[in-house]
């Protein structure tokens, strides 16, 4: 194998950026978003701002993991807080009682959430629609009952406090959370972009037809539960280690519903939609904090308006404004172009 000189490599990279990233506004926005997140501490180290973005990152992972399960395979999970709380409590218990450092306890919490995914997934295999939604909603409530029943172990209503942080420096923590969020989002997006993702999509459309194509849908549905549980478990563990407390609030019904609101607001079955939604809604909720009595109402009105006028979610809406799909080759183009950048067919 011949070595490629750094100059040539750089040139290739520049070409790649020019031909693949700069051609589409949506990709430019994603690139700018990533660069802005990574560069923020160089500009401002305001602890409040950093804290908001760290929490936003945690919830972005959570919302994307819900989308991986419910947006893609169509199994509406209204109890996603179960995975979040399971990850939070498991890593908290391991950190406090067994003195396992955060980089060990967070993955263990994620594994516990995967196991929970299996336990919840198996009874849910036969359920659909409303029944599935109600059943999944019950599980976090059950876990909350267990938490309150064992106050010596779980701290009851007070939760488990005094956890170690992942890093003790402000900027260190920021980078750990933001980079983890970016990497996990990329992994989730890659999963949904693969052949497995096609099968997930197909299961949502028509499960019987997928079975008739010779695919073991049980296995794929369980896989979706476990994958989703894994990512949600990581976000739960990281949340607990950042807040330094794992409390029953992680299991609340409102937590499960926030996830659904974020995902629907952003656009289902996209992965990047829910992430974008969390990055819009969560800071927005912080922003209207100066008007506390109307906070929730403003939030509700905004969500309602968006759902009324952009039923497919903000991401689809924004993308359709900026880009057009080529009628022939289905490749996306900037809305200002007259002809497709690949097949030169006329865009109308």
């Amino acid at each position: 194998m011949t070595m490629i000189s750094p100059a040539v490599q750089l040139k290739r990279l520049v070409t790649l950026v020019r031909t693949e990233v700069l051609v589409l506004p949506s990709r430019v926005i994603v690139a700018m978003f990533v660069l802005a997140l990574l560069g923020l501490p160089l500009v401002s180290q305001n602890p409040y701002l950093i804290r908001v973005i760290i929490l936003t990152s945690v919830f972005a992972i959570l919302a994307a993991s819900w989308d991986l399960l419910s947006g893609f395979t169509g199994q509406m999970n209204f109890g996603h807080a179960l995975f979040f709380g399971m990850g939070a409590y498991t890593s908290a218990l391991l950190n406090i009682h067994f003195a396992i450092p955060p980089w060990g306890s967070v993955p263990m919490g994620a594994l516990a959430a995967v196991l929970t995914g299996l336990i919840v997934g198996i009874p849910c295999l036969r359920l659909r629609g409303t029944y599935l939604a109600l059943t999944t909603m019950a599980f976090p409530i059950i876990l909350m009952g267990i938490v309150f029943a064992l106050p010596d172990l779980t701290g009851g209503e007070l939760g488990i406090s005094g956890l170690q942080r992942l890093s003790n420096s402000l900027v260190g923590n920021y980078y750990i959370y933001v980079v983890t969020m970016l990497v996990l989002s990329a992994v989730m997006w890659k999963i949904t972009d693969s052949h497995t993702g096609i099968i997930f999509h197909a299961i949502r459309e028509d499960e019987l037809a997928v079975r008739a194509s010779g695919i073991n849908t049980t296995r794929y549905k369980l896989m979706a539960f476990c994958l989703s549980g894994f990512f949600a478990g990581i976000s739960g563990g990281m949340y607990a280690h950042y807040m330094r407390i794992a409390g029953p609030s992680t299991l609340e019904v409102s937590m499960s519903f926030s996830v659904v609101i974020w995902a629907v607001f952003g656009g289902l079955a996209t992965i990047y939609g829910p992430i974008a939604a969390v990055f819009v809604l969560f800071p927005f909720l912080e922003f209207v904090r100066f008007w506390p009595e109307y906070r929730t109402m403003i939030f509700a009105v905004v969500v309602l308006l968006i759902l009324l006028y952009m039923p497919e979610g903000i991401v689809h809406w924004a993308r359709d404004k900026m880009e057009k799909e080529c009628p022939r080759c289905k490749i996306r183009n900037v809305a200002t172009r007259k002809s497709c950048r690949v097949c030169t067919a006329l865009l109308d």
Partner: protein
């Protein structure tokens, strides 16, 4: 003693008080094309659904190359080499057509056969080529016409490399020209051979159909069902001239 290719014995299925399929028994040879006809509500679709495991029979057995199919899951049966199409087409409407077929190509059976095909996309494309809808590969399935949806159903079934193909009304709702095209594809598939990277050994087929004229040209043998029971069996000529079949379709002649 040779093992029969497909052997159905005493197959019975009731829905409440209605015996949809009652003690049906027939055999089928390898490479044979079997027509399954009968008046509306005779239990033809139910019989196909029993064969593929979508429905569980109350009693009876289905042996495919000596292996019992009853009790297996639908996807296991498909991976054993029995593929089916749906009468009321069930495409993945919001997915591109190529993705519809790729799901079949991702089944363990399809992935394990034809070592030279490692690229799922290419194989799916060849299945579409065979069915004659490859030029619309990137369109969403929801934009397809009735006839093209039927073709998509066939492409999806063919992509699993079946040895026995169960077609439920492949000509249903098609115009005469489309019917002609579909009949041609079915004959071509039965002959076997290579369609691009897709290799067909010429699967045996069971075809449920109401358009008897077209069906007669394709099938070797016909099985007639009426009220869930086997009414007649034989070559197309025998069946058409069988008085019991005529009676089932047209009713008894008055005054006799």
């Amino acid at each position: 003693m040779t093992v029969p290719f497909l052997e159905v014995e005493g197959l019975t299925k009731s829905f409440g008080g209605l015996r949809a399929v009652n003690d049906v028994k027939f055999r089928m040879e390898q490479k044979e094309v079997l027509g399954l006809i009968g008046p509306n509500g005779a239990g033809k679709t139910t019989l196909l659904r029993l064969l593929t495991g979508i429905l569980k029979p109350d009693s009876g057995s289905v042996r495919f190359k000596g292996k019992e199919l009853v009790g297996h899951k639908l996807w296991d049966i498909v991976n054993m080499g029995v593929a089916c199409t749906f009468q009321n087409m069930r495409p993945f409407r919001r997915l591109p057509i190529i993705a519809n077929v790729m799901v079949s190509c991702l089944s363990p059976r399809s992935m394990g056969r034809g070592e030279w095909v490692k690229v799922v996309e290419a194989k799916a494309m060849d299945a579409l080529e065979f069915a004659g809808i490859s030029d619309m590969a990137l369109e969403k399935a929801s934009t397809l016409s009735q006839g093209d949806l039927k073709r998509l159903e066939v492409a999806r079934a063919v992509a699993t490399d079946p040895e026995l193909l169960l077609l439920d009304e492949p000509f249903g709702g098609l115009s005469p020209a489309e019917t002609e095209l579909m009949a041609k594809s079915i004959r071509r598939l039965h002959k076997g051979g290579r369609f691009g990277r897709l290799h067909s050994e010429g699967p045996a087929m069971i075809i449920v159909e109401h358009k008897l004229q077209q069906l007669m040209k394709i099938v070797d043998r016909i099985v007639v069902l009426n009220f869930g029971t086997l009414l007649a069996e034989g070559t197309p000529e025998e069946v058409v001239n069988n008085p019991r079949v005529i009676e089932a379709y047209l009713g008894q002649q008055g005054g006799q």
